[in-house]
């Protein structure tokens, strides 16, 4: 079995495009929330975590961007940053196949919705063939591969809110089993009219004017966001042979599923707990010094995630600080797990864990050591990242730094 190392990261989100900068902003308690740029009386008073003045040309140069929709551009930009950070130059990519694994919950709902509405309104002959290629959920992964000439394995993973983290686990498995040697792995989700309306109508948003309060007794929902992030993963021998800087390791991954009925209650069977236990392996929770959860302020999901973490850590539950980025960055759906992982890697490096945004009155029933108010100093090398989707998909990743 090959060892999987992380040789670079690339991300773009409401708090910036550098993982150290995003980490600093989170530690300073900054958030990415702004009034919704999407017009509509339905959205009055609602805020979103959008990437302000997103300018793909700044990263990608003057090449024709028209074939790429917003999801495609987010992917191409995050991939560009990850390739640059990991030293995968164009020349190196000619000699060695690099692939891409994208986690996304929806692909581009803007592209799909507008394509369909145009055809329905004006007639099928007015639908754009160019846009059609982008209506497939895997389009952004394909566009990213074309843009960066990534000829290795190209795949797309959908597990709802867990998509980004699951994609990293899936990619690690491909490298560990020798099926790939170098992969960009992460997630992306765009903000769109369709998703924002869906999020509000599904009752997932916190009240207009309020903020998400993950793990807080008063939590009432999240704020919808967007973003993209990729880790550059590769087989450790390859990284060594090309003298790549190793910033961390993917140690293990676990995944499971709870039924719709099970997801309707805070307690009871919990596949995330099992996924964490599987990822921790025979060593158990010993040595895990921090947890990056996917809690976003959702009344039930936060509770299920807290229960899973507490039960899986057992006796060590009150010794391990737990945080989340979603109190500041909102619910970036398919991108979330990738952004969580990057912020955790940066936290291990900087020895500082950002606090949970919006958390003032921790729900004591959870019995966890949440990072509140200010960043927490940590001196650990191994951490857990977790993700839980509303429909029951759950996964956990163990990462480490030297």
């Amino acid at each position: 079995m090959s060892e999987v190392v992380i040789t670079g990261v690339g991300l773009v989100c409401a708090l910036g495009d550098q993982s150290s900068r995003v980490h600093e902003a989170l530690c300073a308690g900054e958030d990415g929330f702004d009034p919704s740029p999407i017009p509509g009386a339905e959205f009055e008073g609602y805020r979103v975590s959008a990437i302000r003045e997103f300018d793909p040309r700044h990263y990608l140069g003057a090449k024709n961007l028209r074939p790429l929709d917003r999801t495609g551009r987010l992917v191409a930009v995050a991939a560009e940053l990850a390739l640059a950070d990991s030293g995968w130059s164009v020349d190196r990519r000619r000699a060695q196949d690099v692939g891409l694994v994208l986690g996304t919950a929806f692909g581009s709902t803007k592209t799909i919705g507008e394509f369909d509405r145009r055809a329905m309104q004006e007639g099928p002959e007015y639908a754009s063939p160019l846009d059609f290629a982008n209506t497939v959920i895997s389009a952004a992964a394909g566009q990213g591969a074309i843009w960066h000439h990534l000829r290795g394995v190209n795949s797309t993973i959908s597990t709802g809110l867990a998509s980004g983290l699951h994609a990293i686990g899936y990619a690690s498995q491909l490298i560990r089993s020798g099926r790939a040697t170098a992969l960009l792995a992460g997630g992306a989700e765009e903000l769109s009219f369709e998703l924002l309306l869906g999020y509000v109508r599904a009752g997932l948003s916190c009240a207009p004017g309020d903020v998400p309060r993950p793990f807080d007794r008063r939590r009432s929902g999240g704020i919808l966001g967007e973003g993209a992030g990729f880790l550059a993963l590769e087989e450790s021998e390859l990284a060594r042979s090309r003298n790549a800087r190793v910033i961390g390791r993917v140690e293990a991954f676990g995944a499971g599923y709870d039924s719709r009925a099970t997801m309707a209650a805070a307690n009871g069977p919990n596949a995330l707990r099992a996924a964490i236990t599987r990822a921790l392996g025979s060593a158990g929770p010993q040595g895990v010094g921090a947890v990056m959860s996917s809690a976003s302020g959702h009344p039930l999901l936060d509770a299920r995630e807290a229960v899973a973490i507490r039960d899986a850590l057992g006796d060590r539950a009150d010794l391990v600080p737990v945080t989340t980025i979603k109190g500041n960055l909102g619910e970036t759906q398919g991108a979330g797990g990738a952004l969580q992982t990057m912020v955790m890697l940066e936290s291990l490096r900087a020895r500082r864990l950002p606090p949970v945004g919006g958390l003032e009155q921790p729900d004591e029933r959870f019995g966890l050591d949440f990072v509140t108010g200010a960043p927490r100093s940590i001196d650990v090398t191994r951490a857990l990242v977790t993700a839980l989707a509303r429909e029951g998909n759950a996964c956990a990743l163990v990462v480490s730094v030297d």
Partner: protein, 409 residues
């Protein structure tokens, strides 16, 4: 080095336009039946083409028993029906298995397009207020695998791999790896896609839909015909299958994935070549050991020509002696379900020593001059079958199925 776990197919479930369930499907496939008919699920009067491969007389409530059928779209209905058939076909007693050790890996192109189409209809009708929670909760494609697992009570690894027209192969490949690395004891893997007006519109605009017949490899072929369906395979370790006395259709011998990285919709030969080569290497087989190729074979002028070139490049002299057929000639292109249904066809070809035909192949294209099994099924010993699938974005996947004799353990 520790030897790798051998992984086999012990059950198949199919819901297609030519039949539901293994026996009917396989009989009709070998008879060369066509499932193509005028589209009934939406109005095609504004289109210049009107045919599709829809599943007729399908009753979701016969398969969706625990969850409310109306709480999900047709993609989940088809997937659940196929999963139930596969479990029954495998003789799997689900009470005897730890539900945490049973996973679901599904491929799709569109997931549940009904919910975004409904969103669009309401938006266009000025009824935005009628758009409710269902869009966010029922539309994301991962509900396909989630609904299968919720309905059947499986709690292991659960994911959807939406790699468009190659998705079924990707999903089966992931199940293969999941079993091999010990993350599950049993995997349900396959693909599902319901008939979608968005997909139909898109292929119509690309000028890719054939007006009358889908004729892969024919000189006068005029395109593909969109279809729908689902297939699920029960995948488990050979040792487990032997221990429970299960029938083994075929062994998963190996697979390969690659990416063209050159064009979103125009097929290239380089990527498919690399996927086939990787699959052969993974399976430890030489090209001449492949007895049957299930082609991607959409029936578009470019695909079939480029695919032929790719096979020739990989198989060399052996290319002309390997039968290669396209069952899309009968089913149309069922999108994310296609390579899962074709995986079932490969497993059954290996088990039953029959090769399904390419129908509507009247005059072979000189540029598609391989043995495309025109018109009639063929009886032949099928030691190994290769399933090829190619998708938008240049996603290529080749999977190899191998015969498993009774003495294999």
């Amino acid at each position: 080095m520790e030897s790798l776990t051998r992984v086999v197919v012990t059950g198949v479930g199919v819901v297609t336009s030519i039949g539901v369930g293994r026996e009917v499907f396989w009989r009709h496939l070998l008879e060369g039946q066509s499932g193509i008919s005028p589209v009934g699920s939406f109005d095609t009067s504004r289109f210049q083409v009107h045919l599709g491969g829809e599943v007729k007389a399908f009753r979701p409530e016969e398969s969706v028993k625990h969850l409310p059928p109306e709480s999900m779209g047709r993609g989940s209905h088809l997937a659940i029906a196929a999963a139930r058939l596969a479990i029954e076909d495998a003789g799997l007693k689900t009470d005897d298995i730890d539900p945490m050790r049973v996973g679901v890996s599904m491929g799709t192109t569109s997931g549940e397009p009904k919910w975004i189409e409904q969103f669009d209809d309401r938006e266009l009708a000025g009824k935005r207020d009628d758009i409710g929670e269902e869009f966010l909760n029922r539309y994301p494609c991962h509900v396909l695998a989630a609904n299968v697992a919720s309905e059947l009570g499986f709690r292991g690894v659960n994911l959807v791999i939406p790699t468009a027209c190659a998705a079924g192969n990707y999903a089966v490949a992931h199940a293969f790896d999941t079993i091999r690395c010990g993350d599950a004891d049993v995997m349900l893997a396959g693909g599902s896609d319901p008939f979608s007006r968005i997909t139909y519109t898109g292929f119509a605009r690309l000028g890719a839909i054939a007006p009358e017949r889908c004729q892969p490899f024919d000189k006068h072929r005029r395109g593909m015909i969109p279809g729908e369906g689902a297939a699920v395979l029960v995948i488990e370790p050979l040792a487990r299958a032997r221990a429970r006395g299960a029938r083994v259709y075929a062994e998963l011998a190996g697979y390969g994935l690659s990416c063209d990285a050159s064009h979103m919709t125009a097929p290239q030969s380089d990527g498919p070549v690399r996927a086939m080569q990787a699959a052969l290497k993974d399976a430890g087989l030489a090209p001449h050991q492949i007895s049957y190729i299930s082609a991607h074979g959409t029936g578009t002028p470019t695909n079939d020509r480029v695919e032929t070139l790719a096979v020739k490049q990989v198989f060399g002299e052996a290319a002309s002696s390997v039968p290669m057929s396209s069952i899309k000639s009968m089913l149309g292109h069922t999108m994310g379900a296609a390579s899962a249904i074709e995986a079932v066809a490969c497993a059954l070809a290996v088990w039953d020593d029959h090769i399904p035909p390419t129908i509507n192949l009247d005059e072979p294209d000189p540029e598609c001059d391989l043995d495309c099994v025109p018109g009639k099924a063929r009886r032949a010993t099928v030691e190994a079958a290769m399933n090829n699938a190619y998708a938008f974005g240049g996603n290529n996947a080749s999977m190899i199925f191998r015969k498993c004799s009774d003495s294999d353990t």
